[in-house]
């Protein structure tokens, strides 16, 4: 008993038995394949051929109820000729002989290029492993084992690769595609072999099915993992197919729009990075002052392109995914293109990782330079300590070590304006007043760091009573990553009185004093330098944190707490 199929061949209706139908279909597929070099006339030629086959079949089938069988098809093939006979390429047909295996035309004819398809017939999940196995010419089991091993090594990332391949690779559906997948010649004998394998498998499946039913009846459950997974994925597909189709299209369209927006904005941002610098979604990364691009081996445009590729390539796959979701006819890319893209992605990744490592290993060396300036104050006089903001870029309210660095243009050159200044007051070992300016910077090497400190521009001023320290410095080092600061030590001899103006409030940094008064409480008070250190002359008791100071002084002299040191 055989199933029959109804076909319309060249405008005529035929009953044809299933096996014969497969044979005819494969025959036409193979003809299509052998005529592939003539795409212009292909459809027309095939139509003519179908019309002729239909005519030949009509001669055989007198009665409408008669069924075309394999013998009929075989006869037709013998009349029409093997698929190779259709090819117009003379070199592929005639001059080559079997005695001359070195003939290049010969090998050209014999070796069809293997193609990477998914194998839908030998699959666990999507048939990718089996397809790949055919492509490299090994048993699928080895690829599967490798895949599972790589899952452990790659922490699951091969799943992504698998999904991408599943999405992008077409499944081998027609016999000629199946033969191409296995790298076999597409000729009648191979096609017939494949067909008979198919028939065999179908009958085997039927048999298995029967056995399964029997087993189920007995209450037993025994089935291979493979069948289960295959059944699960196939069954899921079938049941949900119709419900999912609509949702799938919607998701596909949303994804498609998303990916297009992504790609467009990526391209826009790439151009803006290299031209305008201040637009686009990578503004943060590509901000001109971002340290990432300083002292990197690769120029900014190159890293921009690499990062661009790193993001774009997944977007392309995303686009393909959405196209594939929308239309199952969409075949995706062929393997070389996919491999090129994946390769490019990995190369970009390597470069970016390299730059990242280079970047993070940067600025490890810190260097400083000291500079001492003699201050001409009269001994035992009172010095007023003030800080000045920049005329243009700063203000008194911003005179704080904690304010962010700004980038300014000075003589058309970008520079950093920073308030990273620490002021301390120390005791002089002699009678002289000094200002010690310690500039600190960072660099790849210690030498670089020192060189960077020398570029820092810092000034101060004095007049008779006041020490006017700039509350800022300007540096040409605009690398955000490089941390620069200036430590100012005001060194005064014992007996000198110093007054902290309001402007230095946020620049003082742990100024040591006998009473352990906080920096912020020192403002607007007079301090005197004693042998033990600074001592406040007019601070209220509540700011004095050194309890010993109060105790000892009170123990020693019940009258005054300050007289002792004066």
């Amino acid at each position: 008993m055989n199933k029959t199929v109804n076909i319309n061949l060249g405008g005529v209706f035929f009953h044809i038995d299933e096996e014969a139908y497969q044979m005819l279909k494969n025959y036409l597929d193979s003809i299509r394949f052998s005529l592939r070099n003539d795409p212009e006339g292909l459809e027309e030629i095939l139509n003519d051929i179908e019309a002729r086959i239909s005519e030949l079949l009509s001669e055989k089938v007198k009665d409408n109820r008669q069924v075309v069988n394999t013998t009929d098809i075989e006869e037709i093939i013998s009349i029409m000729g093997q698929p190779e006979d259709y090819s117009m390429e003379e070199e592929s047909n005639d001059y080559t002989t079997e005695e001359d295996p070195n003939n290049p035309f010969n090998s050209k004819r014999k070796k069809y290029k293997k193609k990477f398809f998914r194998d839908g017939e030998d699959k666990f999940i999507g048939g990718v492993a089996a397809g790949f196995a055919h492509y490299v010419g090994v048993e699928p089991i080895w690829i599967r084992i490798l895949f599972i091993i790589s899952l452990f090594i790659g922490v699951g990332s091969p799943i992504l690769v698998y999904l991408v391949l599943w999405i992008l690779l077409p499944e081998a559906r027609t016999t000629s595609e199946k033969l191409q997948m296995q790298g076999k010649d597409i000729n009648i004998s191979n096609i017939q072999k494949t067909v008979s394998e198919n028939v065999e498998r179908i009958s085997k499946n039927v048999e298995e099915f029967g056995q399964k039913i029997k087993k189920k009846d007995l209450g037993g459950f025994e089935s291979s993992v493979k069948n289960n997974s295959q059944k699960f994925f196939d069954g899921l597909g079938n049941v949900m197919k119709k419900i999912l189709l609509a949702i799938r299209k919607i998701i596909g369209i949303v994804l498609l729009i998303g990916s297009i927006v992504m790609i467009v904005s990526l391209i826009v941002s790439l151009f803006s990075v290299n031209t305008l610098n201040h637009f686009g979604i990578f503004q943060e990364i590509f901000d001109n002052n971002s340290s990432f691009f300083f002292e990197n081996t690769f120029p900014i445009w190159m890293i921009s392109i690499l990062i661009f590729m790193l993001v774009l390539i997944p977007c392309i796959f995303w686009l393909l995914l959405s196209l594939r979701i929308i239309s199952s006819n969409f075949k995706g890319f062929n393997l070389p293109t996919i491999l090129t893209l994946v390769g490019l992605w990995f190369i970009s990744l390597l470069f970016v990782i390299y730059s990242g490592i280079e970047f993070s290993s940067y600025s490890v060396n810190r260097g400083n330079t000291n500079q001492e300036e003699r201050l001409e104050f009269v001994k035992n006089d009172t010095i007023i300590l003030k800080a000045l903001p920049h005329e243009k870029y700063g203000s008194y309210s911003k005179l704080s070590r904690h304010s962010d660095d700004q980038f300014i243009l000075e003589n058309n050159e970008q520079k950093k304006y920073s308030n990273q200044i620490r002021i301390r007051v120390k005791k002089s070992n002699n009678e002289n007043s000094l200002l010690r300016i310690q500039k600190e910077s960072e660099g790849k090497t210690f030498k670089n760091a020192i060189a960077n400190t020398e570029l820092i521009d810092y000034n101060f001023d004095t007049n008779e009573k006041e020490l006017l320290l700039n509350g800022y410095f300007i540096s040409p080092t605009i690398n955000k990553r490089i941390d620069e600061e200036i430590d100012l030590d005001v060194i005064i001899p014992v007996g000198t009185i110093i007054y902290f103006d309001d402007s230095v409030k946020y620049l003082l940094s742990n100024v040591k004093n006998v009473q352990r008064i906080y920096d912020r409480d020192m403002i607007n008070h007079y301090f005197i330098m004693t042998k033990e250190g600074l001592e406040c002359l007019d601070c209220p008791d509540e700011v004095i944190r050194n309890e010993d100071y109060i105790k000892t002084t009170i123990d020693k002299d019940n009258v005054s707490i300050k007289v002792n040191y004066y």
């Binding site: 405008g11 003809i31 006339g41 003519d48 239909s54 005519e55 029409m80 000729g81 093997q82 117009m88």
Partner: protein, 114 residues
């Protein structure tokens, strides 16, 4: 060299000439062309003809029209175009020259051999 290949090649070389000649006086549809060619043992399998006819048509040597048939679907009738006619005449001249030349050569050879 296989004799079969050489034979097939010789036939194939003159196949275009034969097809054009068949259509010189009257139009014909594919099956008729095939039947005549087969009868003359110009072709063994039919497959070869289809790409050739399409190629001749695309080259502007042949044209075709659809004609209703009493049995079955419409048939494709091929006809020789003006270009095709010129082409055929040239081929004919060449063929005559060729056969004369080949005849002379092969005659001499056979005579010598005897």
């Amino acid at each position: 060299m296989k004799i079969e290949n050489t034979k097939a090649q010789m036939r194939k070389g003159v196949l275009e000439y034969c097809i054009l000649s068949l259509l010189k006086d009257n139009d014909a549809y594919t099956t008729e062309i095939l039947a005549q060619l087969k009868e003359a043992k110009m072709i063994v399998v039919e497959g070869t003809i289809y790409p050739l006819l399409t190629r001749l048509k695309n080259a502007g040597l042949l044209a075709y029209r659809w004609e209703e048939s009493t049995s079955g679907p419409p048939r494709k009738y091929y006809t020789l175009t003006k270009n095709g006619n010129n082409f055929l005449n040239e081929l004919h001249n060449t063929w005559t020259e060729l056969t004369t030349a080949v005849d002379n050569l092969t005659k001499e050879k056979t005579n010598e051999n005897e």
